[in-house]
Amino acid sequence: MFALVDANSFYASCERVFRPDLADRPIVVLSNNDGCVIARSKLAKELGIEMGAPYFKIREELERNHVAVFSSNYTLYDDMSRRMQSVLRPYCDDLEVYSIDESFLFWSMDLPWQALGEELREKVKRWTGLPVGVGFGPSKTIAKLANHYAKRGKGATGVHVLADAAAITSALQGVELMNIWGISSGFTKRLLKMGIKTPLELREANPFIVRRELGVVGQRLVFELRGEACIPLETERPDKQNICCSRSFGQVTNDLDLLREAVCTFVSQAAVKLRRQDLISERLAIFVQTDRHANVQQYGASWEKRFPPTNDTRELAGHAAECLLRIHRPEHRFKKAGVLLMDLCKREKAQPRLFEDRDLEAANRLMTLMDEINQVHGRGTLRIASASSMALNAGRTWHLRSDHRSPRYTTRWDELPVAIAKCVLD
């Protein structure tokens, strides 16, 4: 049996745990750089605030309704996410962290699922303060569907079990193809072409015909809907195909030095991720973009470059700066820039080059040392000169805007929540 456990309005709920005064107030959380709404509490949803709504467009509406607004505080969310996982892990045989706020759980034996679901919910709530929904099913796809029912619809209690064929059938009757995990809008169109209009029809379809039309992914889906588990837990994350690091700037800028500094900082961060997985890259792309919401001439461009495989921040920053020069236009002021590292492979599998003039071992030792120092003393303590004032100088125009970030309550001594001492006899 599988379960999908996910937190309700996770980011908003994390904020709520540390703010008892917000019990009756709607909460929204904004994306990086305070761009748009990425999480809404139940009350905020009831106000009709849309997911993805640009902050500057709805700011007045939020103020009028006394909505508490937060910049995203990923340090806090990550810590709360890990707490959630540690509560759940001892309960199951295996656990897959599917995203920051959802985990798949797996059991090989039969248990009283409804009671277990209620216990999981109660325990996560009491230990971490986070409300979660639990859905059980014989495959990941059905567990995900059960989770949908756990939170939505009449009489939703936060736990939903889809164990037998009858329950699964009636659950599938109540949803559209689009509500099924793994079915995108493109996939829906292809299914429609085959004459499959509902999840139930997909389940009854001939898996081999589906395979011919939609490949193995489609066939797997048919079996998953029948309650035959085909998608295993991914307890170890596969290595990434690309590493991307991009940000919007606090203010627009056309200053080449500032842009180079931003791009080199993004490269440095991407390179840390690269080395953490012991990968090397041999192609990178740089992209820039003007402010899409501003009434100015729009310009967006990217440039890529191929080079001898490396994980060395210094080399990567050089390539990045070169790409930037190709696309920088002084007449435009940029709102966003980013870097993409591509063609990744494991360092030990890298093809040695015939005429290698670089001391790769020495470079690797230096980078490892730099990562260790930054791990201990904080990101950006030791960095390449072209990424110079990163992290230390918040006044930089390209620096991320987060005007409403809450304290990092669980990871910083100087940002702990306050408890007022009260004598019982008062």
Partner: protein, 104 residues
């Protein structure tokens, strides 16, 4: 043939502690349930007689059910409050104070 020697090579006498090394104490080991444990900072001197002072660090375990007479963290009027738990006082109990640290 030669062998790799683990650790630094000391030209003088070998350490008498060789083989007895241990990890230094880590206060974190005193926390039985890290997933449910949160730190707070005390504000006010109302609980001086309980050895809690303004600025003390509170270690709160949300997994322990509150019992009468224990120091607890409650939500009260939209604030976190630390007090002795007494039956009859309605309050949302968030957790039990397991330890406090005060720096002198």
């Amino acid at each position: 043939m030669f062998q790799w020697v683990k650790g630094d090579i000391n030209a003088g006498f070998p350490s008498a502690a060789e083989g007895y090394e241990d990890q230094p104490l880590d206060l974190y080991e005193l926390i039985p349930n890290p997933a449910a444990t949160f730190f707070f900072r005390v504000k006010g001197d109302d609980l001086r007689h309980e050895h809690l002072r303004d600025g003390s660090y509170l270690i709160v375990d949300r997994s322990i059910p509150p019992q009468r007479g224990r120091l607890v963290l409650v939500e009260e009027d939209g604030q976190f409050v630390v007090r002795r738990f007494q039956a009859g006082i309605p309050a949302v109990v968030c957790g039990v104070v397991t330890a406090a640290i005060h720096r002198f």
